[in-house]
Symmetry: C2
Subunit: 285 residues, 2 copies
């Protein structure tokens, strides 16, 4: 059972709803016996931009600076800058990481994007061989917890912002699952800024209740690595396509097979009964 | 016809493929008589994080700092910091904005996300009333031009990264179209770092050729604002759903109506014959 939790928190104000959600997480998780660390990105004045300064010592190729390659080498040789080394220590020690932020422009705020860009370096967080269901952090869990500016209806499949499941795909599949994390369903606080105090309280209360069982939750479903053919550009193997031919829905939001998207694939665990979580084999498809 | 172009460019190295793509754009567009400005974000040491320092003078509510509200007020009163004011001038003067970047974690690098977060402020770039097809920048065009680390197959609908159309939705719908921009099809340079020199050259050549006709291209299709009911949480009006009931595909990647996604909806103009671009009315659905 997970007991070491890292909260990566990105809001400027301690009076915000995001701060209250973070504080509630610290309190409830500690009361369950968890060790909780918080990276308060604005308070830390966290550097968001990926630059050569992230590497101490000589660059391998200063004329053609390539961030992924240079940080990989620096990581191997212990030459990453101090703040990255410290964040990577926190990640390494964590069983669960909660990202708490206000959604900015259908994604994370730049300061948190910078945390992803700079902390999850090649070698440390992924390699060509260790990705997705075979990813480096396969024994860790991660989740997004965020506030929106828009009402829930606007992010419904009929809403003007489009289906929230689509908006979450690049973050949950492209970052979290890519590094191997078991992705817990997101905690979405719909438009708390416009909500009356009692709604804000009940949103926070629901979060506190959820956290009681958070460490035992099933993660979201993704298509396991073994379904893809590494010899053929990591496309779905014909047998996987075939096994799925008569299903009503695609495999995931991203790997939709030209079918309707499986409803709530990025928002609720267990909605794709047709295949298991991270580790499940092709025969389960 | 567009003649003032802003290129927002985000790569650390002048020896990169991204730099070559940017340089090609400057050259070809200038040779067509365009005025071209470049915001070279790393070179400018562009601040990525949205903080209270972006506002000069007193904050309205320092205890409960809310970035959108404070920057809106500051913008109205001419109290935004100098770099934001300057970027907003460039946006205001541009007929076309090209964002040139390497894809980081299924999205833009943090420094470019910071440009979106900080430059496209409430009031200047959008209001509650002026969004999407009625957006403030409806007479401007914008497009993404980016390199990937992955091969194209990995971003196909059968590929392990999922359909690139899904990954582009939050950027193209959630940021560009949200502000009203007519979104031109993205220019995607697939994995140039791994490509042999002749492939890199031919990718750049294709980009140069495309730019000859760029200003005359049709934009991508989105569902116009008039199809959504502002009284009912901006969900699709029943008559719009009904008009679309017998179609094979959803309206867009995000507003999929529980149907298969319209193929290449976020990557090619004109693929949704069933409805027009930004300005088209509900009767065209």
């Amino acid at each position: 059972m997970a007991s070491r939790v890292l909260i990566v928190y990105a809001h400027q104000s301690s009076g915000s709803f995001s701060a209250a959600a973070k504080d509630a997480a610290v309190e409830v998780l500690k009361s369950q016996g968890c060790t909780v660390e918080v990276s308060d990105l604005y308070d830390m004045n966290f550097k968001a931009t990926a630059t050569a300064e992230d590497i101490t010592g000589e660059l391998k190729n200063p004329e053609h600076f390539r961030y992924a390659e240079e940080t990989k080498l620096a990581w191997e040789e212990g030459r990453l800058c101090a703040d990255l080394t410290e964040e990577q220590r926190k990640v390494k020690e964590a069983d669960l990481i909660i990202f708490q932020f206000p959604m900015y422009w259908f994604s994370v705020p730049a300061i948190l994007k910078g945390w992803f860009d700079r902390v999850l370096t090649l070698g440390f967080a992924y390699t060509q061989e260790k990705r997705y269901s075979q990813g480096i952090f396969e024994n860790k869990k991660a989740m997004l917890s965020f506030t929106t500016g828009s009402q829930e209806t606007m992010f419904s499949p009929n809403g003007i912002n489009g289906d929230m499941n689509v908006t979450l795909w690049p973050l949950q599949n492209g970052i979290l699952h890519y590094c191997g994390f078991q992705v817990l369903a997101p905690q979405i606080f719909w438009a708390p800024a416009e909500a009356p105090p009692e709604s804000r309280s009940s949103m926070l209360e629901a979060w506190r209740v959820r956290m009681q069982g958070l460490l035992k939750e099933e993660p979201l479903s993704f298509t396991p690595m073994c379904c893809f053919d590494s010899e053929k550009g990591f496309q779905l193997k014909p047998e996987a396509v075939q096994k799925h031919a008569n299903r009503d829905f695609g495999l995931t939001v991203g790997i939709h097979l030209g079918k309707p998207l499986p409803p709530n694939n990025q928002m609720k665990a267990g909605v794709n009964g047709c295949h298991g979580s991270n580790g499940s084999c092709i025969k389960d498809l």
